[in-house]
Every structure is written in C-alpha cells, then in structure tokens.
C-alpha cells in the first residue's frame, strides 16, 4: 500500500493537541513524520485505519478460535463433581482418617485399622484393641491392601463369559433354584472356604438351609485345620480351638508348629512370646535369670522363623515328630502315649525337655503344628493337661468358625455327589477348587457334570472360567462384614470405599438367591450384619437397649466386647490318643502353606510375590526344598551364576521330578541348610494359570501331587534330577557372616558373666560391642568372641581383656582401649547435640524374620514392585530388608545350625558416607539427624550407593514405578513421592510421619511425646523388635534400648555413627541339652 498521508500538511495551531482517539493522533503530521523516520515499515499500517482494525479483528478471531480449540468433545468425567458443601464430619482434607475393620484369611479375622486419605484406603495398621492383632500386622494382611487395587480384579459379573447385571444374575439363579425344589436327585451345594463370619454363617445356616433343606454347605480350603480339629475331637470328643497365652509361658515346646508366623493368632503370639524373651536390663542392672526368660524348643522338618529363633531346634522328618511327641508325653506321664522310642538322634533330647517342662508346670506350653497328624494334637492336649497348663497358658474354645468340620471329608463327598450327577447347582464363594483341589480328585471333571455352576470371586480364575455365572466379589475394604479372631472375638468389618469395580458381598449373593425371603429381611450387607448382631449381641457385651450406640462403639473399636468364645473347662481324655503306627523309612514330602502367596489366592499380589520368603529368601517362586545332604544324595544342585545379581538374586537350580504315588511334578530345587534330611518341603499356592498378569506362571504347582489322604505329609516319595535347570530369584544366597559379626549374639549365661566381669573390670570388653572388626583385632576376635570361627573349630572363647589397662600385669597385646561408644572420636564437630535426634534400635533377640516390616514399608512409601527378572539382577527396591545368616561349623549339620535375622533399613548415619560423595547434594543431613534423600535433585550417579557400607540405597534403574495403572494411583500414599527412573531412594525413617507429628505437636504447643512417631516398620512388627524415638529425650524408649550393654552399631567401626543400632541376640539355651546353641 502506498503512503497516502500528506506529509506537507502544515502543523496544527497550538491548542489542538486534544484528540479524541488514537486514529486522530495517528493523523498528526508530527506522528506521521516520527513514524516514517523511526518505523518506516510500520508507517502504512498505522496510517491505514482499516488494516489496523482488520488486525484487531483477526487477533480477536484467533483468540476465539484458540479458545474453541481447547474444547474437548469428551468431557473429563461424565459425572458432575461437587465440592463439599458441608465438610464431612471429622474429615480434614490432607489428614488421614483411621477406620477399624478386619481381614479374614483361613476363617480367622484379624483386626486392622485402615488409613484413609480423602476416601481412599492407603495403608493398614494393626488394631491394638483386637486380640489377634495386638496392634501389629503380618505381611499378608498388610499386602491385602494391594488386592483392593489389583487392576486384574474381576470388573464384571459374567454369564457364560458375557457381562450381565448382578441383580439379573441373582434373579436367574433364584428362579433356577426354585425350579429344583422338590426334585429329588437334583441337589444344591454351596462350597466356600472356611467361614468365620458369623453373619454370613448365620445367613447360610438359618435362611439358606431352611429355604433349601436338602442343600449342603461344604467348606474346603487347602490350608485347612482338619488335623487340629480331629486331634481335639480325639481327646475332648468335640471340636476345639486352642489358643495360648505366651505371656505366661516360660517353656515352650513346638512340635512342628510355626506359631510365630503361620498359625491363627501368630501375630499376637509373637508379640506375647517376646515379652518373656527380652533381656533388657531393668532396675538394679540384673540380667533376667534363665528361669525368668522363656525357652523355646522346636522340633521341625523345614527351618521356619519359629525354629530359627528357638533356643534348641531339632530337625527331623515331619513324620517322625509323632514318635518324638510320644516320647516326651510318656516322660510327662501321659500313659496313653505308649512306649514308642524317640526317633534316632533325638533320644537324648527327651529327658532334658521333660525335666525343663516339668519344672514349669502351669507356665509352659506344648504346641502342635496344624499339619501334624491328629495324634500329635491329641498328645499336645494331653501333655498340656499333664503339665497343668490348661486354663493358665493354654485355653480351649469352641472353634471360631461358624461350622467346624472335616473339610477334606466334606469335599470328597461333594465331589462324589457331583460325579454321581446328583448335584444340579454348585455355588462357590471365594474358592478356586479347580486349582486347589487335591491331586487325587478331578474336580474339573466333576464340575462338568454340574448343570448350573456359580462362582463368586475377586478374579476370573481357573474355576470362574468353567462356571456358568461368575459374580464379582467385593474386597473386604469395599463392603460390610464381620469375623472372629483366633480366640473367637468378633469384630465388625466396615468398608472404606465404595466397590471400585462394582463387586458385591457374599452376603448379598446368599440373601439374593433365597426365594420367598420376607420383604422386610435386609438385603444390604450392612443391614444383614447389623440385623445379625442385633439378634446375637453378646449378653455381657453391653446393654442391647441402646443397640445403635453399642454398634457404633464396636465399629469404632473394631471388636465386639466380650464376644470371645467361652472357654472350655473340660480336661482332655488321653484315652482318645490313637495307637502308634510307625511311619515308613525313606524320603517324605511336606506340603505347607506358602509364607507369601498363602494357598495361591495372593498369587497376583506383587508385594507378596516379591517379598523374600522368610528363610529361603526366594521371590516369585516356590521350590522343592531339601537339606544339603538330601540334595547331595540325589545329585541335585543349586548354583550361583556370575550373571545378573549372582548370589544377590540369581540362582540356577536343578529341576527335579517329584513322584508321589502315581502323580508327578517337576519343580526347581532349593537347598536349605537346617532342613531335616530325607525330607522335602513343598509349599503350595504356586503354579497359577489364570490369576492375572502378576502371578501368571510363577512357581510350581504342588497341588498336582498333594492327595486328599496325605494333604500334609507323605512318606515314600521319589525325587530324581531331570538335568534341566531353572532360574530362581533369591535375594540373599550368601549366608555366612565371614567372621564379620554383623549379627552379634550370645547366650544368657555368657551375657550375665560378661557383664559381671565388665563391671568388675571395665577393660573386659562387652560382648556385643567390642572388639570391632575394622581394627587390627580380628585374630583376637576369633579367639575371644562367641560365635567366631574358632569356636567352630572346637576352641572355647577366651576372655577378652586388655592387660595394658591393668598395671603390673604382663602385656599381651597392646592395641589400645576398645572404643565402645557409637560416637567415636572425631575431628568433625558432632552434629546437633540439642534438639531432636531421631534414632532407631532393633532387637535381634525378638526378630524372627517374618517380613511384616517389609510389606508395611512398601505400603507406606509407595515402593515399586520390579518383577522377577529385575530381582534376579539384584535390583529389588525394598527399603528395609531382613538379612538372614546361618552360623555353624558345617552347613550340612542341621542340628547345630544357628539362624539369625537382621532387619536392615537405612542406618541414618550421622557421618553418612553417602552424603559427601553426591555431586549435586541430593542426599543431605537434616537438622534432626535424618539422612534425607532429595529425589528431584538426584541425577543418578549412584555414587552414594557405592559408598553406603550397608547397601541400603535402592536405585530406579528403569521406570519401576507404575505411572500408568489408574488403580495404583488411588493406592499411593500422597505424602510420599513416587520416584521416577534414574533416581536413588532409601528408607527415610518415615519422615512424613515425623513431620506430621511435628506439625501436630507444634499446633498444640508441646514437645513431641515419646512414641508419638511410629515408623511403619515399627508399627507393623509383630515381635515388637523395633523402637524409634528421640535420642535427645533421655527417657525415650529408644534411649533406654540404646543404653543396653547389648546395643551395638552395625559397622560402627567405620565411624559412620549409625543412628540405627541393634541389640545383640540373646538366647537362653538349656545347659542340660546335648546340643545347645552356642555351647
């Protein structure tokens, strides 16, 4: 466009500067001149009002279009979102709420407190009011949270594989059931796992059975307690539940019972058991006497956590335990035990045990494992009676489950009926019999003969795919329910969240299929439970006049008061003990519940799959576990390969074929020191085919060889090598301490003597503290310290003392005084001496390696699951690991093997080696002594991990956190960052809990109380082995623990000044025993 303005126009007279708009101004010659001079390119545009307007119009249109472009055809949410008009009661956004509920497995409910953030349950804690929990929580219970958010959970109700509505399905089933009424030979069967829920049981027994009088209710689960039930029946004439009070028991004999980790009530038991086990010095500095401390004898085949912490452990074939029990019983005066001799090698154990037990009449316990035959249970009852324990340490109840019975018999009858074609409808709730049924029962074929097959479960599993209806079961945190603890105490289970995938409760299923139910009968699970308890509220559980208030209180507490089953006063009748039939010689196989995936129902739970099993440290697989001698005899081997993580992850195991009767299975072999010879342990629950993406094809299916007549133990099996190998992921295959004493231990007597000598002469080193091993003292260590290699060469430990401290004596070796302080001399000034100094102490006497701390940490800190492949590469992410060491002259000598557990979180060193080497200051020290990890500063040089002598740092080598799966996003703790790839992470002492407590204390204007900050691992620990607190508070529990003579710092000799310290393991062996530990 040409320049159209007239530059020759004379200037306007003065006073006409008033202009009405930019346009007018733009017309002034002065402006025009300026424009042409300064911005010749823009002169025309400014001069032309039309083009400028066009520009503005275009700009406006652009803005409008840009706005329109942001419109999405798909709204973010089809539902309207409303803010809270009124804040829900008690809810403050950003603060968690806790609700009491209960988790049931094997018919036993343990109380939990579920932590809810903005309506999402994100963590489980033990319920201190619940007798089966006592405030602690085990690994499986904790991990059940992940099941809620399992993306592979069933999302639909299916009718022959096609989605259908729940109500439709119920109506159709109801009609089908009605048609069967009065048709003989067309029976209805209900198959469930052990039902401990009184409300569900009541519904089945009272309404369902009445509506269908010929229907039969069958309970079956692989981890059944038939033997314990049967054993009780033998001597009491009826089914009993037995519970133990370990707070009063000072001598315990376990007959193949892993009562600390794998028994109803084991969480409670491990807490109680450790009350009489701690050697913490009390007033007057007296070490508890041998009689004040408890003593545990364990006779078992597989090394279990209970056996590992025993004072005396005798490995023997599981089949031989009965003979042993009879020998002890005879010694205790149980005549009916017969004259069976003790098994070979065990004879000299009998007399000292008998003597010891008898010395503690009424204060001892004999406990039999659930998998031991009924006779052993009967013997245990008789022995407890003979020792006067019944009513003091051993209590019998009527069973906690709704309808106790022999599950195997019931199940066999059911299958017989199914095969006979007389079962027209089979309703299965929470069971997966196609996978779990015994090897001699072809359940799949029998199922084929049932006309209408209904399955209710959380997953479309092996059974669901063969059924006509699959109904989507709600998770226990999604619906109402109830349950009974190991002693029968009832608790109410309330939902924390609406069903994520529209699942329903079994209560709704049963209530919904009962025809002609009165209209006023409740169908909502909450109302069903409430109605049940309105009717059955315990007589002394509070006034029923104000039931709603009682109900509210029970909901809040998590337990119904005084609902424990009444105690059984009857004494056992030893006459019921059957005669002895000697087991055959030869190789036996023991089938055991898996310590992580249970009977297979948690196979799709990544936390449990990746949780190293307490003893073997295997992840993602089970194996045929044998002793080194048995493996040698069979020519089987497990090798460490140099690839991957080697002994820290990757083991190449021979694959063996196990033949039990006419059934065969091939599985990898694991060689377990401490395992009894001629014995195989094979955990069940692995080998799932349809369980979801996590557990698919992990491990080996031992159900394939587990028959109904020998569900736990079978003697006379064959094990042969196949020449194949299989890669197992074991996080710790190196089990020797290499003389470095990461775990320090001693017997009670050694402790007492050492302490007395130390008091008399301070130059005598305390056994747990000195000498360290970095100093040039290792020869002395070997000579003087219990548990060092010389001891296994048959040399007795010498007294360790310094001659140079005693004037007048000859100098032996002068290497300076041992510095037993955890804070050694340093030219670097100590960090803060005032204010809070967070610290932890872990009691190795108590720890039995159950792994509850590991899962608790995973849930609290959003720790990712990395998968088997990454575990074999040594990249598991657990912030706390439980190290397991064996001590012994010869790992093949099972009877003389000592096992140690050592939980290792970040030691929070005051002089942390990791901090100085980080080039970007991503790991720094906090004012209160925490070794902080700043994720978003980390660039991933991994130098800190190299420089960490404890190797507790974990690195995100790949994108381990799952950022994609929606359900996992709900599960995460919003207070903990989800770490991305390339970032180092580690234990923070649950810093988010510390800061939350600080804020609360500051708000209330008071110091933080001792015990106010509880780390996740500490909260979970059933044994109470972990204490956390402020070192600055002289009265704090952690300070009391740290002042114990048994307190020592792991690798403290490196001057790292670890804030986490350990209390040495103190055992209380019987000096009369032939092979006593540490003697």
């Amino acid at each position: 466009m040409a320049v159209t303005t007239d530059v020759a126009t004379p200037a306007e007279p003065a006073g006409t500067e008033q202009w009405v708009g930019l346009e007018e101004l733009a017309d002034t010659p002065a402006f025009q001149e300026m424009l042409h001079r300064e911005f010749p390119e823009d002169a025309t545009a400014w001069a032309d009002p039309v083009s400028r307007r066009q520009f503005i119009a275009l700009a406006g249109a652009s803005v409008a279009l840009a706005g329109a472009g942001c419109w999405s055809p798909r709204p973010a949410s089809p539902e309207k979102i409303y803010p809270y008009v009124r804040q829900p009661e008690q809810m403050t956004l950003g603060l968690p709420l806790f609700f009491a509920t209960g988790f049931t497995v094997g018919g036993v409910c343990s109380g939990v407190l579920a932590k809810s953030r903005e309506g999402r349950p994100i963590k489980l804690e033990g319920n201190p009011s619940h007798p089966s929990s006592a405030g602690a929580i085990d690994a499986i219970t904790q991990a059940s949270l992940l099941n809620l958010y399992d993306p592979d959970r069933s999302r639909l109700n299916l009718k022959t594989g096609i989605p259908t509505g729940f109500d439709n399905a119920l109506a159709e089933i109801r009609t089908a059931l009605l048609k069967l009424r009065g048709q003989p030979g067309k029976e209805i069967r209900l198959l469930t796992d052990t039902i401990g829920s009184p409300a569900l049981g009541g519904l089945i027994l009272e309404e369902f059975q009445k509506a269908f009088p010929t229907a039969k209710w069958v309970q079956y689960e692989p981890a059944h307690r038939d033997n314990a039930r049967e054993g009780g029946r033998l001597v009491y004439g009826e089914h009993v539940n037995t519970s133990y009070d370990f707070t009063k028991a000072l001598r315990v004999l376990s007959l193949d019972a892993d009562f600390l980790t794998c028994m109803p009530g084991s969480v409670r038991y491990s807490r109680d058991f450790n009350q009489n086990r701690n050697t913490h010095l009390k007033e007057g500095d007296k070490v508890p006497t041998a009689a004040q401390l408890n003593r545990l004898y364990v006779v078992e085949s597989m090394l279990t956590p209970t056996g590992a912490v025993a004072d005396h452990r005798l490995p023997m074939r599981s089949a031989d335990v009965e003979a042993f029990a009879r020998a002890v019983a005879r010694g205790l005066g149980v005549a009916a035990a017969g004259d069976t001799p003790a098994p070979a090698g065990a004879a000299e154990w009998i007399a000292p045990i008998v003597k010891d037990l008898q010395a503690f009449r009424g204060r001892s316990v004999v406990v039999a494992g659930d998998h031991q035959p009924p006779a052993v249970h009967a013997l245990a009852h008789a022995m407890n009676a003979a020792l006067g324990n019944i009513g003091t340490t051993v209590f019998n109840f009527s069973p906690a489950e709704v309808r106790p019975g022999n599950q195997t018999t019931e199940f066999k009858e059911l299958v017989k009926d199914m095969n006979a074609g007389s079962v027209a409808v089979l309703i299965m709730i929470g069971v997966n019999p196609v996978f779990t049924s015994p090897a001699d029962i072809n359940f799949e074929a029998a199922l084929d003969r049932v006309a209408l097959k209904i399955h209710m479960g959380s997953h479309v599993d092996e059974t669901a795919t063969l059924c006509d209806y699959h109904l989507n079961e709600a998770h226990y945190l999604e619906t109402w329910g109830d349950g009974r603890g190991h002693d029968g105490t009832a608790s109410l289970c309330q939902p924390l969240i609406a069903p994520l995938f529209n699942g329903h409760s079994p209560l709704e299923l049963i209530a919904g299929i009962i025809p002609d139910r009165p209209t006023e009968a409740p169908t909502n699970p909450r109302e069903i439970v409430k109605a049940f308890w309105r009717k059955n509220w315990p007589a002394n559980g509070g006034s029923t006049n104000n039931f709603d208030a009682q109900w509210q209180r029970a909901l809040q507490e998590g337990v119904i008061p005084n609902s424990a089953r009444p105690r059984f006063e009857k004494q056992p009748d030893p006459a019921g003990i059957p005669a002895y039939t000697a087991p055959a010689a030869g190789l036996e196989v023991n089938f055991r519940v898996d310590p992580t995936v249970y009977d297979g129902r948690y196979a799709n739970n990544g936390w449990l799959q990746e949780l190293p099993k307490p003893i073997t440290k295997l992840t993602w697989d089970n194996a045929i576990i044998v002793s080194p001698n048995t493996a040698n005899a069979k020519g089987l081997n497990v090798k460490t390969q140099s690839t991957g993580g080697g002994e820290h992850g990757r083991q190449v195991a021979d694959v063996a074929e196990l033949t039990v009767g006419d059934k065969k299975v091939r599985a990898a072999v694991w060689i377990q020191p401490g395992h009894a010879d001629d014995s195989i342990t094979f955990h069940f629950g692995y080998g799932r085919q349809k369980c979801g993406r996590v557990g698919q094809n992990t491990g080996f299916n031992s159900y394939a060889v587990r028959s109904s007549d020998a569900p736990w133990n079978k003697v006379g099996v064959q094990l042969t090598g196949t020449g194949d190998t299989y890669i197992l992921a074991s996080t710790q295959a190196h089990f020797r301490m290499e003389g470095r004493r990461p775990v320090r231990r001693g017997t009670r007597d050694e402790y007492e003597q050492n302490l007395a000598k130390h008091k008399e002469d301070p130059s005598v080193a305390l056994f747990a503290k000195a000498p360290s091993v970095a100093a040039p003292e290792w020869q002395e260590i070997d000579e003087t310290v219990p548990g060092s290699p010389n001891e296994w060469k048959g040399e007795k430990p010498k007294e360790h003392k310094h001659s140079h401290d005693k004037p007048g004596e000859e100098k032996k070796e002068d290497h300076g005084h041992h510095d037993d302080r955890l804070i050694p001399l340093s030219i670097v000034p100590a960090t803060n001496k005032e204010g809070r100094r967070w610290a932890m102490a872990i009691d190795l006497t108590a720890c039995h390696g159950c792994n509850a701390c590991v899962t608790a940490c995973m849930a609290e800190n959003n720790i990712p699951v990395v998968g088997k492949k990454e575990v074999t590469r040594g990249r598991e992410m657990h912030w706390i690991r439980v190290d397991r060491y064996y001590e012994g002259k010869d790992p093949n000598d099972a009877a003389n093997l000592i096992t140690h557990f050592q939980p290792v979180p970040c030691q929070q060193c005051e002089k942390a080696p990791c901090e100085v080497v980080c080039p970007v200051a991503a790991t720094v020290h906090s004012f209160d002594g925490l070794n902080d990890m700043v994720y978003n500063r980390c660039v991933g040089t991994r130098y800190c991990s190299n420089n960490c002598p404890y190797k507790v740092r974990r690195f995100n080598f790949l994108t381990f956190a799952d950022f994609k799966t929606d359900t996992y996003k709900l599960m995460r703790n919003p207070e903990v960052t989800v770490r991305e790839r390339g970032v180092m992470e580690k234990c923070t002492y649950c810093v988010q809990r510390i800061r939350a407590a600080e804020i609360e204390a500051e708000r209330q204007g008071r110091p933080i109380r001792d015990g106010e900050v509880v780390t996740s691992c500490q909260a979970a620990c059933p044994a109470g082995a972990i204490v956390f607190g402020d070192l600055g508070d002289p009265k704090s529990r952690v300070n009391v623990w740290k002042q114990q003579p048994t307190n020592y710092g792991l690798l403290a000799e490196l001057n790292t000044m670890p804030r986490t310290t350990y209390l040495a393991a103190v055992r209380n062996p019987n000096p009369d025993m032939p092979k006593s530990k540490g003697a």
Partner: protein, 476 residues
C-alpha cells in the same frame, strides 16, 4: 630403514658429544620439501590412501552406528539396560571412562612433558598422540554422562547460577571430575590446535584443490611464517606445555579420587593418585604404539617413526608397567598390614573370589607380558610390540574392572552379589571404539598426522633444518 645418516645430530643442548650417540630421530635423506611430500600429501590426499584406511574407517564408522543405537536405547529405557545392580552400582561405564581417560594421558604427556624434557623423539609421535588424547577424552567423557540415571540433568554438576540457589556439592570427587576432565580436554584441544597452525599454513600452500586451500587457509589463521609469528608461536606453545604438564597429573589423580575418597575397602587407599597416573601413562603409551605401528607401515612413515621411537615408547611402557605392578603389590601389602578383616578379606576376594580370574588376567597382562620388553630385539620388533601393547591395553582395562567389581563383595556379607555386563554394556563400549576410530581415521585423512614443522626442525642444518634444536631449546 635409516642407517644413522644424520651423523651430526648427536649433540646435547650444549653441543658436547654424547658418550653414546643417540639414534637418529628422522631417517632417510629428507629435505624440507620431502618432509612435506611425505606427510602433507597424505592429508591433502595427493597420495592415495591405502585400502587399510578404508577398512579401518569402515569398521570405526560401523561401530559408531552401534554406539548410536546403544545410546538411543539407553536414553529411552534408562541405565537398567546395563548389568549394574545394587552392590555394584558402577559397571562398564566407569571402567570404560577411567580406561579411556587413561589412554588420553599419553598424548599430552608426550607433547608437553617430553617437550619440556627436551626429548627429541617426541616430535614424530606427538601429533597423533595428541589427537588420540582428544578422541580418547571424548570417548571417556561420554560415559559419565550416559551412566547418570537422569543424564538430561548433567548440567547440575556445573556451578551455574540458578534459582534453586544450588551449587554442586564440592566435597564430591564427581564434582571435581567435571572440572578436571573439561579443563584437560580444553587445554589438550588448544595445545593440539596451536601446534597445527604452521602445518595448516604449509598445507594451505601445497594443497592441490581450491577448497582445500580455502579450508586450510581458515584453519591456519593467517599464519605467514614471519619471525614474529614464530616467536609468539614458540612462546605460546611452551606456555601451553607448561599448563598441560600439571594437568596430566591432576586429571587422573582426580579420577582416582572417585575411588579413593570412597569408603569401599581397597578403594580407600592413598596410593591411588600416583598409581592411576602411572597406569594411565602405561596404557596411553600402549595405545600410541597400537596406533603408530600400523600407521607407520600403511603410510610408509618408517623414516619418521623410527625404531628409536618404538624403543623409547617400549621403555616407557616397561618402566610405568613396573610401577603399576608396585601398586598391586602395595595394595596387597596394605591389606595384609592393616589387619582389617575388610581390607584383607577384600584382597582375598579379589584374588580368589568369583572375580579372581580377572585379577590374574590383570597380573598376566600388566606384569608378566611386559617383561618381554627387557629384550632389545623384541622392543624393536613391531609385531611383538604391537601384541604386547594390545595385552597391556587389555590389562589396564582389567585393572579398572577389578577395582569396580570390588563393589560386589565389600562390608556386609548379606549384600554380596555379582556383576556381569549385558549386551548393551558391550555395545556402548564397542561404540566408543567406533567414535574413537572414526575421529582418528578422519584425522589421519585430513590433518598432518606428524608435525611437518617439527620434523623439518629435526633435519640437519645443511638440509635447511635446525639439527633438532627446535622449540623449547631456545635459539640454536
């Protein structure tokens, strides 16, 4: 081969005859012009390149492709594609970093230190040794970057002003590394380039094509060869040599701090800095020989890289090799003498543990194999020398391997594990060979691989040279 024609070249700086005359540093009957013909014509491609060049370049370029592939996959997936794990958080990346940076020491040592020490024989090998240094440091520099979990944040290791108010954490040797390596690289490049300026000017004059003249003209930065230019050039060169000399020691000392500052048993040792520097020179000379022996043959440079040069390099290797072995002995001794279970235990693991084979491999390569060099006949035999040099390079790689796999078994036995490289570790390592050889072969093709200027100075006076009295010796 040369036969000692340069009879008057055997004088020390003061002109007094040596008792034992030095061998000639330049063979044949070269003149000022023939030196340019022999060396410059390679760079200007007047003389056709032998087929070996094409093979080497092809192989190098192929491996560079592998490098590209490996790095791309690495950046997409993360360092988890490598074999590293928790006890052994450093693997091939650090081994290769230290190995390459060690190789990168010979160039500057030859150029700077031997210059200051008036070693005439340096002149024929310094140019390509310097190029080798630069390319080796480039290869080395790749690894610390790639080995980071989040390499896109590598700049956080540098002190740059930022709104976090954060600086690097200066107590960490990794932060020192950044300065040490980048300084070393910068100074080496400048030193190399300054040395090249007169040669580029020569090529500018002798290049046959216009485009070559143009490029060499730019690169020679207006060099006219005036006395002023020479004067300033020699001063700058000398000053740069002075700056480079401490860097030779500082870089590998600081790299050794990556280990010796750590608390890991056997890493935490005061011997590490000298031990690493000597090891670097050892491997650097081995690499010089590995490159020089074939180049000499392919391009018929026997007149410039004479037997004397080979002999001298071999002697340096033998000497530094023995010093390195003293280091191995010292580690063992200190481990025993400390009476520490960790130190001695780690020594034991190193020798007889799962990675014992690598330790004995190292002892063979770095201690046993170089013993051959005591024999003069073998020192003068290019084939023997080539084989020994390759063995030494392998041995020095194993030295770093042995150091890094110490991590697999250190303090707490429960954490003991293993480390093994994956295919991606190898691909990255081989890939850096690609980077190295691609760069080096391009250097051979376009840049005079031997300093023409300095070779001319070596010529006898009657041929127009300075009798070898060149730079750093003051006026003849």
């Amino acid at each position: 081969m040369s036969t000692g024609v340069v009879e008057h070249g055997h004088h020390g700086p003061g002109g007094a005859p040596h008792v034992q005359p030095l061998p000639p540093a330049i063979g044949g009957r070269h003149t000022m012009g023939s030196v340019v013909d022999a060396i410059g014509d390679i760079a200007t491609c007047v003389r056709p390149h032998p087929k070996e060049w094409y093979l080497s370049f092809g192989a190098g370029f192929t491996m560079l492709g592998i490098f590209g592939l490996a790095v791309t996959y690495l950046l997409v997936m993360g360092v988890g594609i490598w074999g590293i794990n928790v006890p052994n958080a450093w693997g091939f990346a650090i081994i290769n970093f230290v190995w390459w940076i060690g190789i990168g020491h010979a160039g500057t040592l030859i150029s700077a230190i031997l210059l200051l020490l008036h070693q005439r024989w340096r002149t024929s090998i310094n140019r390509f040794a310097e190029a080798m240094t630069i390319f080796a440091v480039m290869c080395a520099g790749m690894f610390p970057l790639l080995h980071m979990g989040r390499p896109w944040l590598a700049y956080w290791l540098t002190p740059f002003p930022n709104n976090f108010g954060m600086w690097p954490q200066f107590r960490s040797p990794l932060a020192w590394d950044v300065f040490a390596v980048s300084t070393y690289f910068t100074v080496s490049v400048v030193f190399w380039y300054v040395g090249l300026i007169p040669d580029f000017a020569v090529l500018r004059e002798s290049a046959p094509t216009k485009i070559q003249k143009w490029i060499y003209g730019i690169l020679s930065m207006g060099w006219r060869g005036s006395a002023y230019h020479w004067r300033r050039y020699e001063k700058v060169y000398l000053i740069l040599a002075g700056i480079s000399t401490p860097l030779v020691f500082s870089v590998h000392s600081i790299v050794s701090f990556d280990f010796s500052v750590a608390i890991v048993p056997l890493w935490h040792a005061t011997i590490f800095p000298p031990f690493f520097v000597i090891g670097a020179i050892f491997s650097g000379f081995a690499m010089v020989l590995v490159l020089a022996i074939p180049l000499r043959k392919w391009y018929h440079l026997e007149d410039f890289i004479t037997e004397w040069h080979l002999d001298a390099c071999a002697k340096v290797m033998l000497g530094t090799g023995m010093m390195v072995c003293y280091g191995y002995f010292s580690e063992l001794w200190m481990g025993w003498y400390s009476h520490s279970k960790y130190e001695w235990g780690t020594n034991f693991q190193r020798m007889f543990g799962p990675y014992g084979w690598s330790y004995w491999c190292l002892i063979f390569c770095n201690f046993v194999a170089p013993q051959v060099l005591w024999v003069k006949k073998w020192r003068l035999n290019p084939v023997v020398l080539f084989v020994v040099s390759i063995i030494v390079l392998i041995g020095m790689w194993f030295e770093r391997y042995v150091i890094v796999v110490t991590l697999t078994r250190e303090y707490v036995p429960s954490t003991w594990g293993r480390y093994a490289p994956t295919i991606w570790d190898w691909a990255t390592f081989i890939g850096t060979f690609g980077l190295f050889f691609t760069c080096f072969m391009l250097f051979v093709r376009y840049v005079p691989m031997i300093s023409m200027t300095e070779m001319r100075e070596l010529l006898p006076k009657r041929a127009g040279g300075r009798d070898g009295h060149g730079i750093a010796e003051g006026p003849p």
